[in-house]
């Protein structure tokens, strides 16, 4: 019981530390900005394998620690067949996305996509979540919806609206992210700000404590509400050679009380900060 409770805390800590940030700073706009390739319709077919060092601090499910530090392997990739595409960007821990590019114009692009990302966007310690947290592992992860991206010179905007595809919680997620990238000689700098809305169905699935969970974990019952969170990120990408890329970024995310007030959180903070750096081999 105690072990399960601890695991649950660790997993939910990951949720708090990174999920909201990752969701807000979606990988698609994030990857575009990191590539410094803002141009409507550009698509990279590639796969890269990286070694990443990550440090994050914020509200956690642990009574004794408010931070996570890990070194892990990340896989980033993207491939397009005609108008269908598959994407995976481990640095955002967004899991897998399958999509269809439905429309392009000079400045706008609209994709329909399904993402295995919601419950696995905990890049800080998503392995713990996957291995230990049954309801995250078994359901609620696939979301479907659309994303609209606008490209204006060095600036980019992305709006996503997604719904639970598994019917486990029937939750909804909406996000708006603004970003900019620019070049300092061969260094590529990017910055993003974003806001994300998650409805109470979605939040309750991950951090709510219903009667069954309350009994199992010996916690008071808790019903989460809708949440709004804000994120900002700044980072750099540098091409070391034709095959190697260096990346570094830092991100700060404000967390909604409706999430942090969950009794799963033992260390309560209203914001999460993370720093990550990686060396990636591009195939």
């Amino acid at each position: 019981m105690q072990q399960s409770f601890k695991s649950y805390f660790l997993a939910l800590s990951a949720f708090c530390l990174s999920m909201v940030a990752s969701q807000t700073l979606a990988k698609d706009i994030g990857q575009t900005l990191r590539d410094n390739s803002i141009e409507s319709g550009f698509h990279n077919n590639y796969i890269e394998l990286g070694m990443q060092a990550f440090y994050g601090t914020g509200p956690t499910f642990s009574e004794t620690s408010d931070h996570i530090a890990i070194i892990n392997i990340i896989i980033n990739g993207s491939y397009q067949w005609d108008d269908f595409f598959i994407e995976m960007h481990g640095e955002d821990a967004r899991g897998l996305s399958l999509g269809y590019n439905a429309w392009n114009s000079e400045n706008w692009s609209f994709d329909i996509l399904a993402s295995d990302s919601f419950g696995q966007s905990q890049y800080e310690n998503r392995l713990w979540a996957r291995q230990e947290l049954k309801h995250w592992r078994d359901g609620g992860n696939w979301i479907v919806g659309g994303r609209l991206m606008g490209y204006f010179g060095n600036n980019m905007v992305q709006f996503t609206l997604q719904h639970d595809a598994t019917n486990d919680h029937k939750g909804n997620l909406a996000s708006l992210v603004l970003g900019r990238s620019w070049q300092l000689r061969n260094w590529n700098v990017h910055s993003m700000i974003g806001v994300e809305f998650g409805d109470e169905k979605l939040n309750n699935f991950f951090v709510g404590v219903d009667k069954r969970r309350a009994s199992y974990y010996d916690l008071p019952r808790y019903k989460s509400g809708n949440s709004i969170s804000y994120s900002a990120e700044i980072g750099v990408t540098y091409p070391i050679s034709e095959d190697w890329v260096f990346k570094a970024a830092t991100r700060v995310t404000s967390l909604d009380d409706s999430i942090v007030d969950s009794p799963f959180y033992q260390t309560k903070k209203s914001s999460a900060v993370s720093v990550r750096t990686s060396i990636n081999y591009v195939f």
Binding site: H43, W103, V245
Partner: protein
């Protein structure tokens, strides 16, 4: 008859002289070298401006007036007077590979070199179109 002999001798002499000059020029080109260090500039993706601090070293067989030419835009980078070797450092900026040559006063390339621009991500562009779902 004597005039004819003189003319033939003159033609032979002129031909020999011209051949000698060409041979000398070919020899000069064969012994000339233009070296770029480093040779490769790496950008993140295709079409991005690439920056590289480049040093060019050259030497030839004969001292002469030479100019370093950017062959892509046919602009003079720098020139030297009565030299048989030289060096020049500058910041390369380009979105594509660029050829350089060392030219003598007649405009002939005596040596060539290239700065290669390469990319990590080889982007391809989607077609711009209207809705395809309906």
């Amino acid at each position: 008859m004597k005039n004819m002999k003189t003319l033939i001798v003159f033609i032979f002499a002129l031909a020999s002289l011209l051949t000698g000059i060409n041979a000398s020029a070919d020899e000069a080109i064969k012994n000339a070298a233009l070296l770029v260090t480093p040779e490769r500039c790496i950008a993140l993706h295709r079409g991005q401006m690439c920056y590289l601090d480049v040093t060019i070293n050259w030497h030839t067989y004969h001292a002469n007036d030479y100019c370093l030419i950017n062959k892509t835009d046919n602009k003079v980078v720098t020139c030297w007077k009565d030299r048989k070797q030289g060096t020049h450092s500058f910041e390369f900026q380009g979105v594509q590979s660029t050829d350089y040559s060392l030219q003598d006063p007649t405009g002939r390339d005596v040596a060539n070199a290239k700065v290669v621009v390469a990319w990590v991500y080889k982007s391809t562009k989607r077609t711009v179109s209207t809705w395809r779902l309906f």
